[in-house]
C-alpha cells in the first residue's frame, strides 16, 4: 500500500479539476459527493500508509518511506525531484489533514447548501487539501515550498470567497500579503540551505547539519529566516493580524484552514527541521519568547471580543503561540501533540460556531445570543466538550498536550511557565465566557431570529460528534509517564526528533513537580470556569454595546491592542503614499510622458514636414529660392 502514496495528493487534485470545470454543470449533490469522496479516498489510503508506518515503528525500524515521482530540475549542481517522504511525523499530519478534511467537506455540504458558488467552494477546498498534502508529504524544501505557497493561495481564494463584499476581499488580500512576507523568509532560507548544503532534500541536508557546532552562525541565520516564514503562516507576532480578519470567509474554511491545517504548517516545518533549530539556541529562545508573548497577547484580546468567530480566531493565535512555545523549549512531541489535539477541538469549536451562526440566521454577535442550549442540544453538548478540552481540564485531550508544553517550559525558564500559565487562565476564561454567553441565560436576539432557531442537519452534526469524541479521548495517546501513561505518541515520533532531542536534552523535571504543575493548571482552569459561570450566568452580565467601553484595559483588549492601527499608520499609509507617488509622478508623468512624448514628437514632426507638400505653389517657389541661397552660401564657404 505504501506505493500508493502518490495517490493521496492526486485524488483531491482530480476532485478540484472535476468540481472546478463542472461547477455550474454538475448538480449540487454530485459535487458534494465528489468533493468529499476524493478526500475520503485520500483518508483511507492515509490510514493504510499510517498502519504500515506504525507496524514499522513497532518492529523497531524508523518507519521512513520515500517515493520519487519524477526528476524535476537537473541543472548543474541543482538536482531536485518531486518526491514524497512518509515518516511518523508526516503520517500523522496526513491523517489530520485528510481526516478533518473529510469531516469539514461533509459539514460544508450542509452549510454551503444555499450558496450559488457551491461548486467553486468544493473545488477550492479540494485544491487546498492537495497543496496541504504536498506540503506535508514533500521530501525536500522545494516541494514543501510549493505546498506552502499553494495553501497561501487557497487561503486567499477561500477567505475572499464572497468577493463582492469589499471588506472580505480586503481581508483576503491582507492574509495573502502577510503570508507573502513570511514566504520571503522561507525563500531566503531555502537559498541559504542550498548554498550551505548543496541540496534541498531532507535526507541530504539533515545529516550534514549534524556536523555543525551548536550556535553556528549560518544555522542561526537559516533558522531565524525559517521562523519568520512560520510567523507569517502560523500567525505569530508580528504577522498575526490577518487571522482574525480571515474570519470573513465561510466557517468551514475557518475550521479547516485557520484551525487545523494551514496554520500548523509552520509548526510542521520547524518540527521537520528540528535538528537545525536545536543547534541554534538563540533561535529557540526567540521562538519560545515570541510564542509565549503571542499566546498571552492573543488571549488578552480574546477576553473582550463579542463576535463568536473572532474569539475563536484569537484563541487559535493563542494556541499556536503555545505550540511555538513548546517548540522553543524543546518539547517537540508536546508541541506536535498540541497540534493534534488543537486540530480536534478547534475544528470542533469552529464548526459548532458555524452551526450556531447558521441557526441564528447568520448572526455572529454573542450579545444577541443566549439560552441556545435548549434549541441546539447537539451543538451545545459538542461545544461544551470542546470548551472543556481547550481550557485544559482533565481528562480531556487539551489538558495533556498543554501540560507537556508547560512542564518543558517550567524546566527551561520559570517566566515562560508563568506567562504560559497566565495565557491558560485567560483561555479558560474567554472560552467559558463564549459558552455561557451563547448557550446560557435568556435569548437576546430578535423575534425573527428566535423563530428560525433550529438544530443543524445531520451532515453538520455528524462531524461535530466525531470531533467531540476525538477531542475527549485524544489525550489517551500521549499520557505522560508521571501519571503512569505509556507516552505512546512520543515513542512513535522518537526517530523524527531523536537527534534534535539529544542535543537539546530531554525533560529533566522530576515526576513530582510535573504532577504538581498538572494539578495547579487543572485547578486553575476549573476555578476560571466557576468564576465565569458566576459572572455570566448567575449575575447575567452581558457585554455592553461598542460605544460604551470605559475601562482602559478593557478598551485596550477590545480594540485588539491597536495593532492594526499601528501597522496602518507605520506601514500601510507610507506604502500607500509611496505607491501613489510612483503612480502619479513616475508612472504617469515620467514614463507615460516619455512614451507619449516620443509619439507626440513623431506626430508633430510629421505635421511640420507635411507642409512641404501643401499644394501652395508660392510656397514651393519660396523653398526653391531658399535652397538656392543655401547652396550658394555653402558653395562660397567651402571654397
Amino acid at each position: 500500500m505504501i506505493e500508493l502514496i502518490w495517490l493521496i495528493p492526486l485524488l483531491p487534485l482530480i476532485g478540484f479539476l472535476i468540481n472546478g470545470i463542472g461547477q455550474h454543470i454538475l448538480p449540487k449533490s454530485l459535487i458534494g459527493i465528489i468533493g468529499s469522496g476524493v478526500v475520503l479516498g485520500a483518508f483511507l489510503i492515509s490510514c493504510f500508509v499510517f498502519s504500515e508506518v506504525y507496524d514499522a515503528r513497532a518492529a523497531g525500524a524508523n518507519g521512513v518511506f520515500t517515493q520519487e515521482i519524477f526528476n524535476w530540475i537537473q541543472v548543474g549542481k541543482l538536482n531536485v525531484s518531486l518526491s514524497f517522504l512518509v515518516d511518523p511525523l508526516s503520517a500523522i499530519m496526513l491523517l489530520i489533514v485528510t481526516g478533518i478534511g473529510v469531516l469539514i467537506h461533509l459539514y460544508s455540504i450542509g452549510y454551503m447548501h444555499k450558496d450559488s458558488g457551491f461548486g467553486k467552494f468544493f473545488a477550492y477546498l479540494n485544491l487546498f487539501i492537495f497543496f496541504m498534502l504536498l506540503l506535508v508529504l514533500g521530501s525536500n524544501f522545494l516541494v514543501m515550498f510549493i505546498g506552502w505557497e499553494g495553501v497561501g493561495l487557497c487561503s486567499y481564494l477561500l477567505i475572499g470567497f464572497w468577493y463582492t463584499n469589499d471588506s472580505y476581499a480586503s481581508a483576503a488580500k491582507k492574509a495573502f500579503v502577510m503570508n507573502r512576507i513570511g514566504d520571503l523568509g522561507f525563500l531566503l532560507a531555502i537559498f541559504f540551505i542550498f548554498y550551505t548544503f548543496g541540496s534541498f532534500e531532507f535526507a541530504t541536508v539533515f545529516p550534514q547539519v549534524k556536523e555543525f557546532a551548536v550556535g553556528d552562525v549560518t544555522l542561526t541565520v537559516i533558522t531565524i529566516l525559517l521562523f519568520i516564514a512560520a510567523t507569517g503562516k502560523s500567525a505569530q507576532i508580528p504577522l498575526f493580524t490577518w487571522l482574525p480578519d480571515a474570519m470573513a470567509g465561510p466557517t468551514p474554511v475557518s475550521a479547516l484552514i485557520h484551525a487545523a491545517t494551514m496554520v500548523t504548517a509552520g509548526i510542521y516545518m520547524i518540527a521537520r527541521s528540528n535538528i537545525m533549530f536545536t543547534l541554534s539556541p538563540l533561535t529557540m529562545q526567540i521562538i519560545a519568547i515570541v510564542g509565549v508573548a503571542t499566546a498571552v497577547v492573543a488571549a488578552f484580546i480574546a477576553l473582550t471580543q463579542n463576535d463568536i468567530k473572532k474569539v475563536l480566531a484569537y484563541s487559535t493565535v493563542s494556541q499556536l503561540g503555545y505550540m511555538f512555545l513548546g517548540l522553543g523549549v524543546g518539547a517537540f512531541t508536546g508541541a506536535f501533540f498540541h497540534v493534534l489535539t488543537h486540530a480536534f477541538f478547534k475544528a470542533l469549536l469552529f464548526l459548532g460556531a458555524g452551526s450556531v451562526i447558521h441557526a441564528m440566521s447568520d448572526e455572529q454577535d454573542m450579545r444577541k445570543m443566549g439560552g441556545l442550549r435548549k434549541k441546539l442540544p447537539i451543538t451545545y453538548t459538542t461545544m461544551l466538550i470542546g470548551t472543556v478540552a481547550i481550557a485544559g481540564i482533565p481528562p480531556l485531550s487539551g489538558f495533556f498536550s498543554k501540560d507537556e508544553i508547560l512542564a518543558f517550559a517550567f524546566a527551561e525558564n520559570k517566566w515562560l511557565w508563568t506567562f504560559g500559565f497566565i495565557a491558560a487562565l485567560f483561555t479558560a476564561f474567554y472560552m467559558f465566557r463564549l459558552l455561557y454567553l451563547t448557550f446560557f441565560g435568556t435569548f437576546r436576539g430578535s423575534q425573527a431570529q428566535k423563530e428560525h432557531l433550529h438544530e443543524s442537519p445531520a451532515t453538520m452534526t455528524l462531524p461535530l460528534i466525531v470531533l467531540a469524541i476525538l477531542a475527549a479521548i485524544g489525550g489517551l495517546m500521549n499520557i505522560p509517564e508521571a501519571i503512569g501513561g505509556g507516552h505512546k505518541l512520543a515513542n512513535f515520533l522518537a526517530p523524527v526528533f531523536a537527534e534534535g532531542q539529544s542535543i537539546k536534552g530531554t525533560l529533566h523535571v522530576d515526576h513530582q513537580t510535573e504532577i504538581v504543575l498538572m494539578v495547579v493548571s487543572a485547578l486553575a482552569a476549573i476555578v476560571m470556569a466557576i468564576v465565569t459561570y458566576i459572572r455570566y450566568v448567575k449575575k447575567g452580565y452581558v457585554p455592553k454595546s461598542d460605544a460604551l467601553e470605559d475601562n482602559g484595559l478593557h478598551r485596550l483588549s477590545y480594540q485588539k491592542l491597536y495593532v492594526d492601527e499601528l501597522y496602518d499608520s507605520v506601514i500601510v499609509k507610507p506604502l500607500n503614499a509611496f505607491s501613489r507617488f510612483l503612480d502619479r509622478v513616475v508612472d504617469r508623468s515620467i514614463i507615460d510622458g516619455i512614451v507619449n512624448g516620443i509619439a507626440h514628437f513623431f506626430v508633430s514632426s510629421g505635421k511640420g514636414i507635411r507642409q512641404l507638400q501643401n499644394g501652395h505653389v508660392g510656397f514651393y517657389i519660396f523653398m526653391m529660392v531658399i535652397a538656392v541661397i543655401v547652396l550658394f552660401v555653402y558653395g562660397i564657404f567651402s571654397f
Partner: protein
C-alpha cells in the same frame, strides 16, 4: 571702336554689379510675392534680363565675347520658356477660371 569701349569702361564694374543685383532681387521678390501668374512670368523675365545685362557688362570689361554669346543663348531660352509658360497659364485659366497662383492648390486632392 576704342572710344565706345573706353566710354563703356568709364562706368566702373561695381555699378553694373550692384545695379543688376538689385534688379535681380526685385525680380525674385516679385516672383515670391505677386499672386498673378502673368506678373510672376514678368518677374522671371526681369531676372533673366538682369543676368543678361551683367553678362554683357562683364564681357565688355574683360574684352571676352563669350559673355555676349551666352546672352544670345539666354534670350532664346527665355523666349521658348515664355511660350511654354504662357501655354500652361492658358490651360490653368481654362480649368480654374483664374490666374491666381493660390487657385492651383486645389490640385492637392
Amino acid at each position: 571702336m576704342d572710344n565706345i569701349i573706353q566710354q563703356i569702361q568709364g562706368v566702373p564694374l561695381n555699378h553694373y554689379l550692384v545695379f543688376c543685383s538689385i534688379i535681380f532681387a526685385i525680380g525674385v521678390i516679385g516672383v515670391l510675392i505677386r499672386r498673378n501668374v502673368i506678373i510672376i512670368m514678368m518677374s522671371i523675365e526681369l531676372m533673366l534680363n538682369a543676368v543678361n545685362l551683367l553678362l554683357a557688362a562683364f564681357s565688355s570689361h574683360h574684352g571676352d565675347p563669350g559673355g555676349q554669346v551666352f546672352v544670345f543663348f539666354i534670350m532664346a531660352l527665355a523666349a521658348a520658356e515664355v511660350a511654354v509658360g504662357l501655354a500652361i497659364i492658358i490651360m490653368v485659366y481654362r480649368n480654374t477660371k483664374s490666374v491666381d497662383i493660390a487657385s492651383l492648390s486645389r490640385l492637392r486632392w
